[in-house]
Symmetry: C2
Subunit: 297 residues, 2 copies
Amino acid sequence: MSRQNYAVATGVDVRLAARNEVHTGPTSGLAPGFLQANLLVLPVEYADDFRKLCARNPVPCPLIAESSCLGSFDSVSGSTTPRLTMKGCVDLRTDIPAYMVYRDSKLVRSHCRDIKDEWTAGHVGFLIGCSYSFETALAAAGLPPRHVALRRNVPMYRTTLALCPAGVFTGGTYVVSMRPYRRRDVEQVRAVTRRFGATHGEPIAWGWEALQALGIRDVDAPEWGDAPLTMDGRPLGGMRREQGEQGEEEEEEVPVFWGCGVTPQEAVMRAGLRGVVMAHAPGHMLLLDARDEDVVG
Amino acid sequence: MSRQNYAVATGVDVRLAARNEVHTGPTSGLAPGFLQANLLVLPVEYADDFRKLCARNPVPCPLIAESSCLGSFDSVSGSTTPRLTMKGCVDLRTDIPAYMVYRDSKLVRSHCRDIKDEWTAGHVGFLIGCSYSFETALAAAGLPPRHVALRRNVPMYRTTLALCPAGVFTGGTYVVSMRPYRRRDVEQVRAVTRRFGATHGEPIAWGWEALQALGIRDVDAPEWGDAPLTMDGRPLGGMRREQGEQGEEEEEEVPVFWGCGVTPQEAVMRAGLRGVVMAHAPGHMLLLDARDEDVVG
């Protein structure tokens, strides 16, 4: 249960609480069942290349909605379903608890409360699906993600797995999130998350051999989030090394990797764009009016 | 100009010529401007996983249409645009000049003229976009693909680049096609093909460094098609080795790689499916009524 003294039961509750600066923290766990989205705001000259980047890499970059018109901050149109469309009752410049602002690819403001001064008529906002949706479904299936149970952040890693390039967006690679599961549960975990195609879908790799395939050197040293722990609180990779690296037991916990919405942010940063780019601050997402179930298929 | 004594000017001309077995050869160059498609026919129990495989890997697996209903061979529905829908005047069992048939993942018939005996009410046909579309556009832009100019087949390679898995389709990797271009032309080649999102779109990698990134050992030894040649008919990779491997000249020809429609076939073969799977024979495609320009965006 939330301990806030303001309502955050629905998507619009959270947006208004952020707009009025009564909620300024992370959004994990708020308004359960409502979709949360990553925000990226780009100068219009990069918009079409960015759409193509997402279309070519839908697993790590699931574009679910964007500004209805050039410069629109109060109206977004769903990319795949009209249920994601929001007109009125949304302001992309104020309704996220914390934003990041980049100028000529350099961070110039961190965790600011709004982007009203930076948003121009030449900007386009893009909403990218988020893995919170399938985490709810995993918990409901009796497979709660470890980091949720331990109240930590999900570990995220850079990989060497290439994105399909699109226009100015070249040289990017997948960022992945990781949740450990027992080997015998992996097929069920795959099945539960498979339906969430608009929010990363099923894992892209699993098992210890996935580390090499993805170019991840140390599972205990994620680039973002908190290091992964076993059920009893020990480092996941350290545990594997202690027990010897040959095990194939069904009870052993193995890393399971999903495409991660940090991917398009990384691709944008890497592209060295000119002008002002904006994004949500990590963990501080936009709450939508659509429900998780509105985007499963 | 075609030297056939039967009409192959339009998509339906070629389909009827194949149905009546008056045209039994490859389809490259027939009915210029009409879309050509790869065919894969799967038992229905694998259909949903296959749709997800394509949705998660749209660059190498651009699903453009499928049987309108379970078992339909005479009606296909476009996946992205109604212009790809065909009802009547098409028979997926007969309208391709040559087919391959697999039973329990083993090839049992090669280059057969129809699949009427094998098609059942439990089959679903899938049409996958083909790179012929953008090759026409490249030629029109003054950048004709080398293999077309030399009347050879495009070279195709297995890579180590992982597909995003989907259900039973795990462990697959990209297959790529390759066309050499001068380094100074690569950006224009990218721009011309970028619009063809339903037929592989822009290249996924280019330059000599792409060989290592894709895990291709020898550019002169493709797994399918003919080895690539320079403008004056010498092996492309051999030429590079002769000239020393440090060059960065704008005039030098470098390999440019695109996602290839052989990818989903390889993924299907790798999955060890039970039952009867069917496909077009390499180079023998289905001609559609839609034009290349109908799927650009």
